[in-house]
Amino acid sequence: MSKGVLYDANKCIGCRACQVACKQWNQLPAETTTNSGTLENPPKLSARTFTKIHFTEAENNGKFHFVFTKLQCMHCEHPACATACPVAALQKTKNGPVIYDDNRCFGCRYCQVACPFGIPNFEWDKPMPWIRKCTFCADRLGAGLEPACVKTCPTGALKFGERDDLITIARERIAASPDKYVNHIYGEKEVGGLSWLYLSPVPFEDLGFPTLGVEPVTVNAERAMGAVPPMLVAVAAIMTSVYWVIQRRQKMSQTKESDKNKVEVTK
């Protein structure tokens, strides 16, 4: 069964312990940043920062909300990055995580372009760069542990479990206090479903989440790729038969001409 994490923006206090835990577990260096006038830091995800808390001030139903959202790889059920990657360096595991294998990657960065959430990041400053992104702590999951960020979360804003169970829990929370949540579990259906699920007191577009349909982004590309083998056979067959027909026609006209010549000679 596929694992997931439920993030509840109403329970998050913006302490950013998850950011610290992530850096520690993945042994990522700190980033040098400048004061941007907010407590939000670093300004964006990078090859050295796999997760961060994003701060939003939003108004909903005449009420002011200071909303925190945790950004990281969504670990899609139908990941665009995994379909895009020409060398299958990115793969969706049965367990839930979308994992990356730098023994395969050659740095084409198609995953970066394809990801609808803009998650995979690249080590631009290194002469031998890799793609870096949240791993869903696949190593910890393999040992029966929770992801580092979930483990460290002091308020229970992050809940780890079976994805299906988490959807049930999310529905119960919305039903229990419909005035506190918008009736939308972000990630339940978006682009075919995400392993990370979100609850929020304000509409998700106000939090900067992309508005996405239920169809996986890989559908059209996979359909096109499915047409490749029949195309290959069809084009080869058409070209061969055209060649054959034209050669035959030329031969026929040649023999006709030579026949004419013969007739003329005998005359």
């Binding site: 198609y110 631009w124 890799w130 790729m225």
Partner: protein, 385 residues
């Protein structure tokens, strides 16, 4: 004759100077990484090299497979004199694409991973495999020029024997990867503007590549006839230019029917300012050439045919830049314009290819005139006896 040899090295000197001037960009890239020379970022991971060297490069090299098909499969012997230069430029074009990828890839020394780690679902995997294989096919298709020069008859006979299967393989591989470059963009339904995003992108890519193939051959042949002083048959140019309006007509029809079917046809008026680019590529690269090349008096003038071909090429370049860069939204908050060194890499590679073309025209039998062709047939006839 003497004049030609004297005037030739001046152009070559300028081009060599450009190649040398662009060299530092390559060195810095391999020592310090992509970030050191490019304006690429996580927000805009693909830039000038992908749009120009890969997307435009592959499409503009379409002259190789279209001409090979016309001459060897459709049996239009009339175009034989331009087939070999077209195959040479296609061969160099694909090498250019691979060289550009060796700059653009983060870990170019692992480019061979595409051959051992396969992801059948990835359009880029298909492009990688087809580009590699097709470059090999083009090398074989072009090799007779070298064997003829060296008088190596055995390999020459082998290549001649497998020539038709080679050409068919080339057409198949080209069909697949020209269209797959379009399939690559199908993965981005949310970032590519709906004026361009459509499930039939692969078909549009293939059709426009077939249209630009003959246009590129006209372009190259006209220039090389000026530079190297070969005579160009006007009936060949007129014949090539006659096909272009039909293919562009199909392309235009596909585009309009697709926009209407998707209910997005209104976007060509409302999606300001991107709709201006759409109009630009349609008017410059499709409508104008269709109108011009449908007029017999335009087809009779080699100058007018040349400029009409230029329009087709400019329109295609604009289209490939639109779909792979300008109309493809970056991550929020990203602004991209190529850095000087990114331009230096692209210009350096093109200059490199021009040098090789010049050398090839001097050293190899590229532009066959009719006498030479007849002579070859004679030689072949003798061998057969």
């Amino acid at each position: 004759m003497i004049q030609r040899i004297r005037s030739f090295p001046i152009g070559a000197t300028i081009i060599t100077a450009i190649v040398i001037a662009c060299l530092p960009a390559f060195i810095i890239r391999y020592l310090y990484g992509l970030g050191a020379i490019s304006n690429l970022s996580d927000g805009r991971p693909w830039g000038l090299w992908i749009s120009f060297d890969l997307y435009c490069g592959v499409a503009l090299a379409a002259g190789g497979f279209t001409l090979a098909a016309v001459v060897y499969i459709f049996g239009q012997e009339k175009y034989h004199p331009v087939a070999r230069p077209a195959i040479l430029t296609a061969f160099l074009g694909y090498q250019l694409v691979i060289l550009a990828l060796l700059v653009d890839l983060g870990q170019p020394w692992y480019i061979w991973h595409a051959m051992i780690f396969w992801n059948w679902h990835s359009p880029l995997f298909e492009v990688a495999i087809c580009v590699m294989t097709y470059t090999g096919v083009l090398a074989l298709e072009f090799s007779p020029a070298i064997f003829e020069r060296l008088n190596w008859n055995v390999p020459l006979r082998i290549i001649r024997a497998i020539q038709i299967p080679l050409v068919i393989a080339g057409v198949v591989l080209s069909t697949l990867h020209q269209s797959s470059l379009g399939s690559m963009l199908l993965m981005m339904p949310y970032s590519l503007n709906p004026l361009w995003y459509t499930p039939i992108l692969p078909l549009l890519f293939l059709t426009s590549a077939i249209a630009v193939g003959p246009a590129m051959v006209i372009f190259e042949s006209t220039i090389s006839s000026r530079v190297f002083g070969h005579r160009m048959g006007q009936d060949v140019m007129a014949g090539l230019s006659r096909t272009i309006p039909y293919i562009l007509g199909i392309y235009l029809l596909l585009k309009l029917v697709d926009l209407t079917a998707r209910g997005s046809v209104g976007l060509i008026f409302t999606a300001y300012p991107l709709n201006l680019l759409w109009w630009g590529e349609i008017i410059i690269g499709v409508v104008a050439p269709i109108v011009l090349l449908s007029m017999p008096n335009v087809r009779q003038s080699s100058r007018k045919v040349f400029w009409s071909a230029v329009l087709v090429i400019v329109g295609l370049i604009l289209n490939r830049f639109n779909v792979s860069m300008i109309a493809l939204a970056p991550r929020p908050g990203t602004i991209y314009f190529p850095s000087l060194m990114e331009f230096a890499i692209s210009i350096g590679l093109v200059a490199d290819a021009l040098l090789v073309i010049m050398l090839a025209h001097r050293l190899l039998p590229i532009a066959e005139n009719h006498e030479l062709a007849e002579g070859q047939e004679l030689v072949e006839g003798q061998e057969a006896i």
